[in-house]
Amino acid sequence: MANGTRDDGSANAGRPGEPRPDDAALSARLGRLDRRLSELKDSRKIETGREERQNETAAARASALARGFRLSSELVAGVAVGAAIGWGFDYLLSTSPWGLIVFFLLGFAAGVVNLMRSAGVVSDIHERLKDPD
């Protein structure tokens, strides 16, 4: 933007035959200032970019550990809840051991689904609910 306005200014100054010396000096000074500003901006951008990248790798390492903790417990929780439901089913309806067997396996499947969902392999629940019907 600054570049464009400067070009316009110098072109206008050069058009009417003989440019006044003041205008020429001013546009030259503006051009120098602009160049120095853009140089400064570029160097600053490079520095902040490097800093951001370092922060990102540190954050990625920490969140990878966090993700590991998360994934490991998802599977166990699914199996545990399935087994608990099965045991309760058997206890109430005295169908032992069938409730435990069936719900244990269902719980294992639920654990795997949980694991894959939190790992991002299959779509999340709310993604599925997006379509109206």
């Binding site: 966090a66 903790f69 417990s73 929780a77 699914g78 399935g82 639920a110 689904v113 599925r128 997006k130």
Partner: protein, 248 residues
Amino acid sequence: MDPIHQFEIKNLFTIGTFGGHEIAFTNSAAYMFLAVILTAALMLGGTAARRLVPSRVQSLAELSYEFIADMLRSTAGEHGMKFFPLVFTIFMFVFVTNMLGIIPYTFTVASHIIITVALALLVFLTVIVYGFYKNGLRFFKLFVPSGIPMAILPLVVGIEIISFLSRPVSHSVRLFANMLAGHITLKVFASFVTMLGALGIAGVVGAALPLALTVAITALEMLVAALQAYVFAILTCIYLNDAIHPGH
């Protein structure tokens, strides 16, 4: 030395009885109060001056606000900000109690599963109540994936329900197990130092190894304490997202 002696609940004083049950003020409750006081002091003290160029305490308070606000916005969207007080309270409570637990001779509140279950159930019930309040019966679509053949639909719905019910379990057990296991490991390694030190001069030299390990594990435990608070908070955000954004 008993490594699980540190998790013992002690009755400091009795407040009264309620329906034949004793209402006791325990050491666990005392550390919870301490955590709340520390958090309140940080946030109230940090925001009292409201300087444009923040002081150290103020920038700490601002940093913790920004951290949770960014996390909530990125996982649950702008609508999720109405749950900011809940998520921020949970994060600061877990974080401060975990950090207090690292200090020797202190009590770790999250090493008792009743605490983490209470927190996880709070989130779980919030998701259910808010989900039904906001979406009505459409919230049940959470369990019915679209485009599934009728033949295996009951099986898939069963799996989805178990998967939904297992959320508070994994949410609470993760925090509890990490804090319990970490503190037991720390205690066992530290007790090796005193055991070897009692053996004489050779033992004292040998005790340098478990001592170095204890220092290293303490640093690791600090990382785990912060990380588990972060994981607990981000999972809270993810679960709340299901209640907020079912239809989009």
